[in-house]
Amino acid sequence: MSYFGIVVTYIFISNMILTQFLGLCPFIGVSKNVESAMGMGLAVTFVMSIASLVTWALYHLILMPLGLDYLQTIVFILTIASLVQLVEMVVQKYSPVLYKALGIYLPLITTNCAVMGIALINVKSGYNVLESFTAGFAAGLGFLLAILLMSAIRVQMETERVPRFLKGAPIAFISGGLMAMAFMAFDNALLNNLVG
């Protein structure tokens, strides 16, 4: 698949949140206002891109040659968790400003299943290193797009009359479901028309 195809696929057609339903916790938890959604989205994009590279290298250079590819899930969990920790430390040391901006969102990504998801999808799809990185980056952008749209909706919802028992997370989940239905308009036929 062309790189353009990968980008379109992971932003629109196989959107991590709205089509694959991965990473719903930050999607609901951190979308109350636009700034925090932006911070979370950028942090996830950053981590997904790096995690895609690292897990690709790990799988193809270590696990596959040793015949240990059945350990991919647990090894990827360990890798991603440590990677996020390391990234947090590095950012705290060398860029306190960025650290302040990312705040609590960075450690939250440790347990974000979307990062894990893209790592496993990369392996399953047999991408090469650059394709993996592209897929990770595009999936991050897809996450950013979804969470930004969601935060815009939720900011608007603050001023709307919502039944009290639906306030907060329940109405957010309902809106998320409606958004997911809208995203079903993007499918592979669209991609084929685009790429030809």
Binding site: L68, L71, L78, T79, L86, Q92, F165
Partner: protein
């Protein structure tokens, strides 16, 4: 044999890999250590670490930073920590603090249990007060009472609230950390904060006129004004057809009013506590 070997290698390599990563992180955390502000760390230690958000910040860390930076000069925002935390913060920041303030606890101002307060219909939906409120403001005829479905139980961070089995909920005062979350979530406003050392409580929240209240609930405050008029020093005040008991000036006659109340909705708080204890078991 092959399978066992496979499991063994898988186990060994995962342990090795995990250990390697852990070691790497340990080394990295040494090398990349950032000096933290000592005041912030000390304050963080003094705060209870509940991260309940009662202070208005996302967690204890946020409050500690705001205090250390001088952005916030109100030291009493940590209600759950109580006097100990307040004293600790004051010591670190070198500020005189008054730790004698009485702890506030939530209290359900309603004793209209099953059979005492009438119901207008049988509610059989989501077991949540806020959901029930959507249908004619709940299934009780009295729109101010405790619906007993326990929205407050779900938000309480310390499990201090429980159902009594007769259609009401009670707050266990010793577990309450006065974060006020239950007060915010309660749709009828029947939960209000009272001082922990309260002597008596008016266990009713009905703002209806006396006649209406009487029709709805056998123990509702009918605003007869006996407590207010007969014991003017005692601190009872009728507001919106409801007797409100003040706790600042406890004049004579507070106990006598309990006897004189025709519907017996003024009750000693101590008795309530005993009732709670027997229900807790």
């Amino acid at each position: 044999m092959d399978v066992i070997l496979r499991i063994f290698w898988g186990f060994l390599s995962t342990v090795l890999f995990g250990g390697l990563l852990g070691l790497g992180l340990a080394v990295a955390s040494r090398k990349l250590k950032v000096e933290k502000d000592e005041t912030v760390e000390a304050l963080d230690g003094a705060l209870p670490g509940l991260n309940c958000g009662a202070c208005g910040y996302a967690g204890c860390g946020g409050y500690a930073e705001a205090l250390a930076a001088g952005k916030d000069d109100d030291l009493t925002k940590c209600k759950p920590g109580g006097a100990d935390t307040l004293a600790g913060i004051g010591k670190i920041l070198g500020v005189e603090v008054d730790t004698d303030a009485v702890r506030m606890v939530a209290y359900v101002h309603c004793i209209g249990k099953e059979g005492i307060a009438s119901r207008s219909y049988n509610y059989s939906g989501l077991q949540d007060c806020n959901a029930a409120t959507v249908l004619f403001n709940g299934d009780k005829d009295c729109k101010y009472g405790c619906l007993g479905l326990g929205s407050c139980i779900n938000v309480c961070p310390t499990n201090a609230i429980s159902k009594t089995g007769d259609g009401l909920v009670v707050v266990h005062a010793d577990l309450c950390i006065s974060c006020g979350k239950c007060v915010d979530i309660c749709p009828t406003g029947v939960m209000r904060m009272i001082p922990e050392d309260a002597d008596f409580v008016v266990a009713c929240n009905s703002r209806d006129k006396g006649k209406v209240t009487k029709g709805n609930c056998k123990v509702g405050c009918i605003a007869c004004k006996i407590c207010e008029k007969k014991f003017p020093e005692a601190g009872y005040k009728i507001q919106d057809n409801l007797s409100i008991l003040g706790y600042d000036n406890r004049g004579p006659g507070r106990a006598d009013a309990v006897e004189k109340c025709p519907v017996k909705c003024i009750i000693p708080y101590k008795e309530v506590k005993v009732r709670k204890a027997s229900n807790a078991g």
